[in-house]
């Protein structure tokens, strides 16, 4: 029974990892067809020198960092506030944000932006994308930081105040140090969600704010190509490494 289970588990793990592994393998295939014709880096080189890809990657990075910074800051403070005292409205709003499909988030923000911009004559651009990313990342930051807060004994802040620290000093010197692993985990989650997002971004991005997922999507729609394979492999590896590094930092 145990061996059957282990065998089965191996099968599922293969199912989970093989597609990406095969994709990565073929990104090094010299031929653009499914026959293996030798190892080659040419598709990777092509990907890394494609101007459109590089610009899109830069955009994704900028958006990711900005959205992560804002969402993490707002979400951490919000989680702390909710931990101190619940708010039914906020909890309901966060739940709704959590279950809203990306497509609905995207179209609602598109409609909202268009409606607002009619008054102010603004356009879609990097800022609208950043705002959209903050919108859907916030709830995840709150979730992660809350989970970390729940492991904190509320008596600790009381003890700090009892010994003469103000609420602010208690937060800074007792709660915040404890929170850091949770905050970094939340930031990483937010960045990954933002960097990888296609659906919402495609709807609210302006002409000058093409992101990496948007370019990849367009290329994929045109058909499978080894350059897409290469880019995909690079992205997947990059994000994978990021996560590994964060896990190391967290358990250190």
């Amino acid at each position: 029974m145990r061996r059957m289970l282990a065998l089965y588990a191996a099968g599922v793990y293969l199912f989970l990892h093989l597609p990406l592994a095969i994709l990565a393998a073929f990104s090094f295939n010299a031929s653009r067809f499914t026959v293996w014709e030798g190892f080659s880096l040419k598709w990777h080189r092509a990907a890394l020198s494609d101007r459109q890809l590089i610009e899109a990657a830069a955009n994704s990075l900028v958006i990711g960092l900005a959205a992560t910074a804002i969402a993490t800051a707002a979400g951490t403070l919000g989680a702390y506030a909710l931990w101190k005292r619940r708010s039914r409205w906020m909890t309901a709003a966060l739940h709704i944000s959590l279950v809203t499909p990306e497509i609905v988030t995207g179209i609602s923000l598109l409609a909202f932006y268009q409606w607002v911009f009619r008054f102010w004559g603004l356009r879609l651009g990097m800022h609208t994308v950043i705002g959209a990313h903050v919108a859907f990342c916030l709830v995840f930051v709150v979730l992660v930081v809350m989970a970390r807060l729940r492991t904190l004994d509320p008596a600790l802040e009381e003890a700090a105040m009892d010994l003469g620290a103000s609420e602010w000093r208690a937060f800074r010197e007792v709660t915040l140090p404890w929170l850091w692993p949770g905050i970094t985990a939340a930031a990483l989650l937010a960045f990954t969600l933002s960097f990888d997002d296609y659906v919402v971004t495609s709807l609210v991005a302006g002409v000058d704010s093409e992101t990496l997922p948007m370019v990849i999507y367009a290329m994929a729609k045109r058909g499978v190509s080894p350059v897409v394979n290469a880019v995909s492999t690079l992205i997947a590896t990059g994000l994978g490494v990021l996560i590994l590094v964060s896990e190391r930092l967290r358990s250190a």
């Binding site: 004994d153 008596a155 600790l156 009381e158 003890a159 700090a160 105040m161 009892d162 010994l163 003469g164 620290a165 103000s166 010197e173 007792v174 140090p177 404890w178």
Partner: protein
């Protein structure tokens, strides 16, 4: 002062006066409001009505960090990311470095934690953690030290030892201790004054002997120790004498049949049944004889040892 949470009054018109430099215990079952009373004094809760004064000055409106009282929490609430030294000196941020070091050193000596200054709370034992909590609170030189069931988390042997150390600490430092517990033995052993709480009210305040020997209500009598109730009169098991044959003249007595006799080493714990079916317990020194289940015996006690509460319903 009184305090209500969500509609239910947790503390109802509690009035306490704690003499300076004394060991004062708040004793009562869980849920009686004693911890809330402590938190009111510490500043973590605001009273709905009433006032709190420290040395005559009102403090009820002050935040916890503005009051000159310090709390030792039930689970110690030590800061996990700071060392023992870091914990102890936390409250002394605003003092000059030299004075800070001196006070910390004295506190560490007072609780005998030398050598452990650089350890983190996770690396020391439960008893040591409690001493850190004590040192941390004492080092800020409060006027009153509030202790929320500090011995509850310790194992029995350690508890007895810490009890003696606490009493000694209080005497040496001269700080008033407000001690909350549900353990009546602890309260009796440590306190100069005990206030027994029940359902948000104080039922009686007084010296330990006073509370134990002359309880003013049935609740206090029952809470402070086992009681036998015979015909509306209460008699403590240790005041219950057992013998074969008739009772001495002038004594109150009853016939009974022994149902169980347990040998507890220094004491014998006897259970007997009265003719009307009521059960009685007696505690006697093993030197006073032994009895077997099934024996018919005479229980007797002196009228002075009876406690009656005519105003209360049985």
């Amino acid at each position: 002062m009184s305090k209500a949470f969500g509609g239910s009054r947790v503390v109802e018109e509690v009035s306490l006066e704690i003499p300076r430099g004394s060991f004062f215990s708040l004793l009562g079952p869980s849920g009686c409001g004693k911890t809330t009373t402590l938190r009111l004094v510490a500043g973590f809760e605001r009273p709905d009505a009433g006032e709190i004064r420290l040395n005559g000055a009102p403090i009820a409106h002050l935040k916890p960090y503005e009051r000159n009282v310090s709390t030792v929490f039930q689970n110690y609430a030590l800061f996990p990311h700071l060392t023992v030294r870091g914990n102890i000196e936390f409250g002394l941020k605003h003092k000059p470095a030299a004075e800070r070091m001196r006070r910390v050193r004295e506190a560490i000596e007072m609780v005998r934690l030398e050598g452990k200054e650089e350890r983190k709370p996770a690396e020391i034992s439960g008893g040591e953690r409690q001493r850190v909590a004590l040192a941390r609170s004492l080092v800020v030189e409060p006027e009153v030290l509030l202790l929320d069931e500090p011995l509850a988390a310790l194992d029995p042997a350690l508890r007895k030892q810490m009890r003696a150390e606490l009493k000694d600490l209080q005497r040496r430092s001269g700080i008033s201790f407000l001690f909350v517990t549900h353990d009546q033995e602890e309260a009796l052993a440590l306190s100069d004054t005990i206030a027994v709480m029940n359902g948000g009210r104080i039922e009686q305040t007084g010296a330990p002997e006073e509370i134990y020997l002359r309880p003013r209500t049935r609740f206090v009598a029952n809470f402070m120790g086992a009681m036998n109730w015979i015909d509306g009169a209460g008699v403590r098991p240790e005041a219950m004498r057992v013998m074969r044959g008739p009772a001495p003249s002038g004594a109150r007595w009853a016939q009974a049949e022994v149902t169980a006799a347990s040998f507890l080493g220094n004491l014998i714990h006897l259970e007997a049944r009265l003719p009307d079916g009521a059960c009685v317990t007696a505690e006697m020194s093993r030197l006073d004889g032994s009895f077997a289940p099934g024996e018919r015996v005479t229980l007797w006690w002196s009228e002075q040892d009876e406690l009656r509460f005519p105003d209360e319903l049985p």
